[in-house]
């Protein structure tokens, strides 16, 4: 047995887009224990519901995280709509699902690019991010913003998307799918990708269940916890949804799940565009939230299940807003995956779990 020592990892590290600190206890080149530490970017966004009008808080909610910004505004709006018994028009629900799936595409493409960069595959990284720019163009065309979309409001959407723009989005998505599938083949069949990822950071099915893991991280260990299957909100309109699962539970399995989810999300977005009917996209919501009204909501974010809870107090402000984000669920799984791995694989394992620290700390 070698001498045990502790290597600090982060909060600033090239592989980490956001700050998280890990104390890695190592023996020779093996990690025997990883102790995470968070709290570098806590902003107290849940507390802000006490001082921001519930309608204006949408703009705060979507700034919880830059990558899943649309998801957070959607989750928040759906929660408030449940509390106030608001029926959102069908067209708005479908556009919301479409935009959420496109934002999942951009999040997964960003992640795939970062992963390629982490194992030193620069050309793959650039191709993936080139494709992601097309997705950001779709956002700019439809909502006016590239990252922060600001299109959701309590009661629907703030602007409609014309049929002309929707047909452009459709053709962009079809061409994106063709081009993406060539890149996907490289990810899934390239020997240098496999040599870095196969059998690394394995989490078994039982471990994934016991640690309460969510999202693609859990689905790679064959745990079906995809909230889209429950048909909450606009997702009940999907004709056929089969979650993507993998049995390997290693880094390669996580890459494969996310790669396939991109194609699945393109198909869902195309289905929503093709089934859109004309009509209004919002209803007026006025007045305070009833005292004591409560609501819970679940949303499948790109990183997994996000839980929302809100409580009204009879004013324009919320008594309590709680968001349990997927990355905070996955931190326990990350620590388990790091146990016993090689020191050189630490960055690969952390990346494939895709922790979003902004979401975690809020």
């Amino acid at each position: 047995m070698g001498k045990r020592s502790v290597i600090p990892f982060g909060p600033q590290h090239p592989v980490l887009p956001e700050p998280v600190h890990l104390d890695l206890a190592v023996e020779d080149e093996k990690v025997v224990k990883a102790i995470p530490q968070i709290g570098f970017i806590h902003r107290g966004l849940e507390k802000l519901t006490e001082t921001h009008d519930y309608q204006n808080y949408v703009y705060v909610a979507e700034r919880i995280c830059g990558i899943c910004s649309f998801g957070h505004s959607l989750g928040y709006c759906e929660t408030i709509e449940q509390m106030m018994d608001v029926d959102v028009p069908m067209r708005a629900q479908k556009i919301r699902v479409m935009l959420h799936e496109i934002s999942r595409i951009q999040s997964h493409l960003l992640w795939l690019g970062l992963t390629a960069d982490a194992f030193g595959f620069e050309s793959l990284f650039m191709h993936v991010w080139r494709l992601r720019e097309n997705v950001l163009d779709i956002f700019e065309m439809t909502t006016g913003g590239r990252v922060i979309l600001s299109i959701n409001k309590v009661g629907g959407l703030v602007r409609d998307i014309s049929d002309d723009v929707l047909s452009q989005v459709e053709s962009k998505l079809v061409s994106l799918k063709d081009e993406y599938q060539q890149i996907e083949k490289t990810f899934l069949s390239n020997s240098s990708v496999k040599s870095r990822t196969v059998g690394v950071g394995v989490i078994s099915h039982d471990q994934a269940e016991n640690l309460g893991m969510v999202g693609p991280f859990a689905r790679a260990s064959h745990v079906n916890n995809d909230v889209r299957c429950l048909g909450i909100g606009g997702y009940r309109l999907l004709s056929d949804f089969v979650p993507i699962l993998d049995t390997t539970g290693d880094c390669y399995g996580r890459i494969r799940v996310r790669c396939k989810e991109v194609v699945q999300s393109i198909d869902i977005a195309l289905e929503m565009i093709r089934s859109l009917s004309s009509g209004s996209v919002s209803v007026d919501v006025k007045g305070p939230i009833p005292d004591g009204a409560q609501a819970v909501n679940l949303l499948e974010q790109p990183r997994g299940e996000c839980f929302y809870y809100s409580l009204g107090n009879g004013t324009q402000y919320l008594e309590r807003m709680r968001m349990r984000t997927p990355s905070s669920e996955n931190l326990a799984g990350m620590v388990a995956a790091l146990q016993g791995c090689d020191l050189a694989d630490v960055n690969m394992i952390i990346l494939t779990i895709d922790p979003c620290i902004s979401c975690t700390e809020r």
């Binding site: 703009y59 191709h127 080139r130 600001s150 060539q182 083949k185 390239n190």
Partner: protein, 129 residues
């Protein structure tokens, strides 16, 4: 297998037009409806402060005494909420991005005095006396 396809794609892009634009030498035309920056037509503005209440970022300020409307572009998050609540449609969202500046300062618009109303009020006061 995938490597050959990626190699082909990379070779194609070697002879292709670059995917990126050489900004600022090459300007990218904005998509219709892009949220660039807020503009105010101060002539039609009635300084009602609804935009101030609707602003989630506290970027706007209205001083009715000095007849000024000001926006701090460094605080503004381009959410377009003020445009939607404006009763006179004096606020608009421009598609152009706000230009670069060398120092942080608010943009202040001063509403000119309404001379016609003033005359009426003078007449009114003279009648009363």
């Amino acid at each position: 297998m995938g490597m050959f396809e990626l190699g082909g794609m990379t070779l194609k892009w070697l002879f292709h037009k670059p995917a990126t634009k050489q900004y600022p030498q090459v300007q990218v035309p904005p998509y219709p409806g892009r949220r660039g920056h807020i503009e105010n037509d101060i002539q039609t503005c009635i300084l009602c402060s609804r935009c101030v209440k609707g602003c989630p970022a506290d970027a706007l300020e209205v001083d009715r005494k000095n007849r000024t409307w000001s926006i701090n572009l460094y605080r503004c998050i381009q959410c377009e909420n003020c445009v939607r609540v404006c009763p006179t449609h004096s606020l608009t969202m421009s598609e152009e991005l706000a230009g670069p500046t060398t120092h942080i300062s608010a943009i202040v618009h001063t509403k000119p005095e309404d001379t016609s109303k003033k005359k009426v009020s003078k007449n009114d006061s003279s009648k009363q006396s």
